[in-house]
């Protein structure tokens, strides 16, 4: 298979404009003859479904939650980047493009990223027009802040809930289309398969989570906007329901899965409190602006924080990175925290945490000033841990936060299955090996509002509005396959719950395919996952029935897919013999313990093709060409 990224020719700044001109259009009168299915209602899904509905297509949108507004985009706190340059601080589309490619450690496509930077400007206009209440200054204009160590203030925000407000904007646009009748909304429906006929997408199979009924829906095109797969680690900042199932089933039907090992680990999360833990909570990394990260200098020091004198503390980030200090990028901060804990310097009952101390800031600025800045985060911390962060230092530990990998898509966001598209975190396209803060929201909305409406028309115009034949046996077959799989899960009647398997998988992934990886560990992990998966299909216990609301059954199906994805992540990590961004191979580091890229051999996208159950997947490489950005080694010393 030859991967064609379809990046348009020409100078970087003209690619998207020229490409849009070349794309075929669908006559407005013909649009209602096309059925389009959108799966997932986060920023990418809601914005895509609303925009396509507005254009006049006949859209069906599916989500597993009880309302489209619940999608996990809501949890994004920090903000959304846009190259508006309202601050006159030297920002531009080109700079955002450059920063994003660099931040991704040169593993993203230039063409895609430049387009993202271009439309970032339109996103803010669109959202403000929808009534998204972005933070404003006293003069009434929009406020910006610098985020995640960026040198320009290009981040727009809405208190600590930017994701929520942006999603509510897209959701309201979507509900408007539901009211207009262009979009039909299916909540509490989970996509379980793609229907293809001769390699072309013809629809999906979904399970009505309330009645348990397995239904098929036909469409001219299907858009998977199903988010990331961070929950493969069991503990992550993702919502409980976040899963890879839709993307994975598409992968098994022929869509390549790209860069699965690229995972972002966020340094400022609240540590695990015990085995009961079901999820991790992120605190905005803005905390690192005023908090100082430290551990006891002596391993095994179990004294309380305030009993440890200044001289016996190790402010390791400040020590190792004098110029960036506590503001080093996410991956560097995370890895260093792990290193300290591995040295036995971790704090708290579990020993898996480092301190984030605000004592100096409180002394310098006063408690009120600190409260004004971070009050809600401090409250959240106190709520979860039962400790008062104004009095004792916070304990933090890294947690899985975002997955850069995902379904391989070309410049048009098309997967390798014709008619099947992937948007937002579900695809792999724009963040390379590491995502910049405040860029996830930008990408989701760019894909949904501005990219897919243009690129999808081209495909639809090409295939024509002929109705899909739903009587084709492929539909009945896909339904039957899903029913059989469900029946199989229920029939095993073993001893262990799906949750237990999930926890075990998570531990393997975190241990061997987390913040730092090495060959030996990855090989071990692969074997462990294979064994765990085999055991799952022999010994899982799923109670309840197929024909009812059965969260236990839903969970089991998702865990089964994670057990397959986990192995692919490990294989991908093994194959990539370099360190880059969120992928840190211990064998490949500089003398200063920084990620050591190998641009000569690994400047490519690793796209994996499914070859059948328990068979090794086949690697396809898409070479990355850098015409504008100069590849350099990061340094935060």
């Amino acid at each position: 298979m030859k991967l064609d990224s379809k990046i348009p020719e020409g100078p970087i700044g003209e690619k998207w404009t020229k490409h849009k001109f070349k794309l075929k259009l669908v006559n407005p009168a013909n649009r209602r003859k096309y059925d389009i299915i959108v799966v997932g209602t986060g920023l990418a899904g809601s914005s895509a479904a609303a925009s396509l509905g507005e254009m006049g297509y006949n859209v069906k949108v599916f989500c597993f939650q009880d309302s489209p507004r619940r999608a996990h985009s809501i949890a994004a706190q920090g903000g959304i980047n846009s190259a508006k340059n309202y601050r006159n601080d030297g920002d531009s589309v080109y700079r955002l493009f450059y920063d994003t490619v660099k931040g991704g450690d040169y593993r993203a496509r230039e063409g895609n990223v430049h387009r993202l930077a271009e439309v970032s400007v339109n996103i803010i206009d669109q959202c403000v027009a929808q009534g998204v209440p972005f933070a404003r200054e006293y003069g009434g204009l929009l406020d910006n802040r610098s985020f995640g160590g960026a040198q320009v203030s290009r981040t727009f925000y809405a208190r600590g809930q930017t994701g929520q407000q942006l999603l509510l904007g897209a959701y309201s646009a979507l509900e408007r289309q539901v009211n207009e009748g262009t979009v039909k909304q299916y909540t509490r429906h989970e996509m379980l398969d793609v229907v293809t006929v001769d390699g072309v997408t013809r629809g999906v199979v979904v399970r009505d989570l309330v009645t348990g009924e397995i239904e098929s829906h036909s469409a001219h095109a299907v858009l998977l906007c199903t988010g990331g797969y961070g929950n493969v680690f069991y503990l992550s900042t993702n919502a409980q329901g976040c899963n890879v199932t839709a993307a994975w089933r598409a992968h098994k039907k022929g869509a390549l899965f790209a860069n699965p090992c690229f995972t972002q680990i966020h340094p400022t999360c609240i540590p695990v409190s015990g085995d009961h833990q079901s999820k991790l909570t992120l605190m905005s990394e803005s905390l690192r602006n005023d908090g100082r990260v430290w551990v006891p200098a002596k391993p095994g020091d179990k004294r309380l924080a305030f009993d440890i004198p200044e001289s016996e503390r190790d402010y390791f980030l400040e020590r190792k990175y004098p110029s960036f200090g506590n503001l080093v990028p996410r991956d560097v901060a995370s890895r260093n925290a792990k290193e300290m804990c591995d040295l036995g310097k971790g704090v708290g009952a579990s020993g898996l945490a480092v301190y984030l101390d605000f004592a100096d800031s409180i002394k310098r600025l006063g408690e009120d000033a600190v409260r004004a800045k971070y009050g809600n985060l401090f409250d959240m911390y106190a709520q979860i841990t039962g400790e008062n962060p104004y009095k004792t230092p916070m304990r933090i530990y890294p947690a899985v936060h975002y997955t850069m990998g995902g379904l391989w898509v070309d410049y048009n966001l098309s997967t390798t299955i014709k008619g099947l598209y992937s948007l937002g975190e579900a695809n792999f396209s724009d963040h390379g090996a590491n995502r910049l803060g405040a860029s996830a929201l930008m990408q989701g909305l760019a894909d949904g509002y501005f990219v897919i409406p243009a690129t999808l028309s081209d495909y639809l115009a090409e295939i024509g509005p002929k109705a899909i034949d739903k009587t084709h046996p492929a539909f009945a077959q896909a339904v039957k396959d899903v029913q059989e799989r469900t029946a199989r899960l229920l029939a095993i009647n073993g001893k262990k719950t799906a949750n237990e398997y999930h926890k075990e998988l998570g531990k393997i992934m975190w241990e061997y395919c987390g913040m730092a990886r090495n060959k030996e560990g990855l090989q071990k992990a692969q074997k462990l996952i294979q064994e765990l998966r085999a055991d799952f299909w022999k010994n899982v216990k799923v109670s309840g029935e197929a024909g009812e609301l059965n969260p236990n059954l839903e969970r089991a199906g998702r865990v089964a897919d994670f057990l397959e994805l986990g192995e692919l992540m490990v294989v991908d990590a093994l194959e990539r013999n370099e360190s880059c961004g969120g992928h840190f191979r211990e064998e490949y580091q500089t003398d200063e313990n920084e990620a050591q890229r190998d641009d000569d051999n690994y400047a490519y996208v690793a796209a994996w093709e499914y070859k059948g159950d328990n068979k090794p997947e086949e690697l396809h490489k898409e070479d990355l060409v850098f015409e504008n950005v100069k590849l350099t080694q990061r340094s935060y010393k």
């Binding site: 507004r69 339109n122 929808q130 404003r136 841990t385 039962g386």
Partner: protein, 254 residues
């Protein structure tokens, strides 16, 4: 572990929308005070699954207080005894060893029970569909800074916009009224100039939809604001009332 608790749960169990339900007792053993309330139920469910019983069905997703999915009335209070948080943010350290905790679903005609503690909140989507939006298509080219909005209005709009659509307001209201939910959206969009062109039809249509969904009438008890995890205030309901009076007095929908 030391400090762990044993707790008795009385949970509403109901097979589906068509059957009758009842409270069933369960023992939650060795509960750590650091557990979240939902993690405590997770553990009870693990035991139930292993016994081959049906686990307790409940809605939840983000588990960090923002998605609005979790929805339990705990000892008579939506989202439990603490204010300003959702059920998923409630931790077991708020309870004592030996406590008996009663857990019921949201109760309202507009929120029929789907199963156990899961209710159908699609009525909220339909209320938004009736007008909870600004009618702009994708492709707006008016610069975001073309309209200045006073910080005061924008902050107030934000206060309203923090609504997570969980439905605790309905669950708390003795009349099962959805006025706080409705007012949050009406208030947000009426405070922003972008929302002005449609403000009259918006409030009229959304209120009509709320009534059609079978929610009750507001009698200003204020319970909704107290139980609201985002602490949305009564002033938004007052604003809704003003908007409604103005709309009925001056809109041309005769």
């Amino acid at each position: 572990m030391a400090g762990n608790m044993n707790i008795t749960l009385k949970v509403w169990r109901q097979k589906n929308a068509h059957t009758k339900g009842k409270l069933v007792s369960y023992d939650a053993k060795d509960v750590s005070p650091d557990m979240s309330f939902l993690e405590m139920i997770d553990e009870v469910n693990e035991v139930l699954i292993k016994k081959g019983d049906e686990p307790i069905a409940f809605d939840h997703d983000c588990r960090e207080g923002i998605c609005g999915m979790c929805s339990m009335v705990i000892d008579g209070r939506p989202h439990g005894p603490k204010e300003g948080i959702t059920t998923c943010q409630l931790h077991m350290r708020s309870f004592k060893d030996g406590d008996t905790i009663t857990i019921e679903p949201w109760r309202a005609k507009g929120f029929p029970v789907v199963k156990d503690l899961v209710v159908d909140r699609s009525a909220f989507d339909r209320i938004i569909q009736a007008g909870g939006y600004i009618s702009v298509n994708t492709g707006v080219t008016i610069d975001a800074n073309a309209i200045a909005i006073s910080k005061q209005d924008s902050d107030k709009a934000f206060d309203a916009a923090t609504c997570i659509g969980c439905g605790a307001c309905v669950a708390a209201c003795k009349n099962a009224s959805a006025m706080l939910f409705l007012s949050a959206k009406v208030s947000q969009l009426s405070l922003l100039p972008q929302g002005h062109p449609e403000r009259m039809s918006r409030v009229e249509n959304m209120l009509q939809q709320m009534e059609d969904e079978g929610f009750g009438n507001c009698s200003n008890t204020g319970a909704c604001s107290v139980e609201c995890p985002k602490e949305i205030g009564q002033e938004h309901i007052a604003r809704l009332n003003r908007e409604f009076i103005a709309a009925k007095a001056s809109s041309e929908n005769v």
